[in-house]
Symmetry: C2
Subunit: 118 residues, 2 copies
Amino acid sequence: MRFDPATLSYNSDGLVPVIAQEAETGEVLMLAWMNAEAVARTLATDRVTYWSRSRQAFWIKGETSGHVQHLVEMRVDCDRDALLVLVRQEGPACHTNRRVCFYTAVRDGDELELMAPD
Amino acid sequence: MRFDPATLSYNSDGLVPVIAQEAETGEVLMLAWMNAEAVARTLATDRVTYWSRSRQAFWIKGETSGHVQHLVEMRVDCDRDALLVLVRQEGPACHTNRRVCFYTAVRDGDELELMAPD
């Protein structure tokens, strides 16, 4: 069956949450959002393109930072309301210059920072 | 620093998206949602507890199916508006009886089912 971005279930803002995972290591890098056009552009270009909710604009990951996400494979979940993108990440994925955005762990009720900026 | 669920950034429905990842294998299992109370209950019980948007009720994962998610570690992202839970999953994570919810790949513009129900 052909994949059509219009068949996904978007929220009231027309967005779907997207998990980016490093294809090689399995590390979860970040969570961001796409609209239907961002899904189409990501597939057409193999460069992961989100919708920036703060800037209200397309966000080609790495366009300014150089920290590009090359699409390896896109996956759709059972309810068609979430995406997983397997990527090859250049440089740190997080805007704080850390490898991943999920660098804070909760251990015994305390927050613990697991990694420093690169 | 003590972790306080109230310091997370929730959406207008009071929810935050949560990625569940198998701690052992790194496989991304599913994406679901928690409110502040679900975050607190998950940490207090070490059993992953979501907020079901369809049922508008707490959803202790596996309570009816037996497919429990045991919390290994909770992680918070840089913007405090997404969570990653590393879990030990009993049985399939997906309600379709597949190991993971992200079982549909997009390859060359076509949808391809990667795994059958258990």
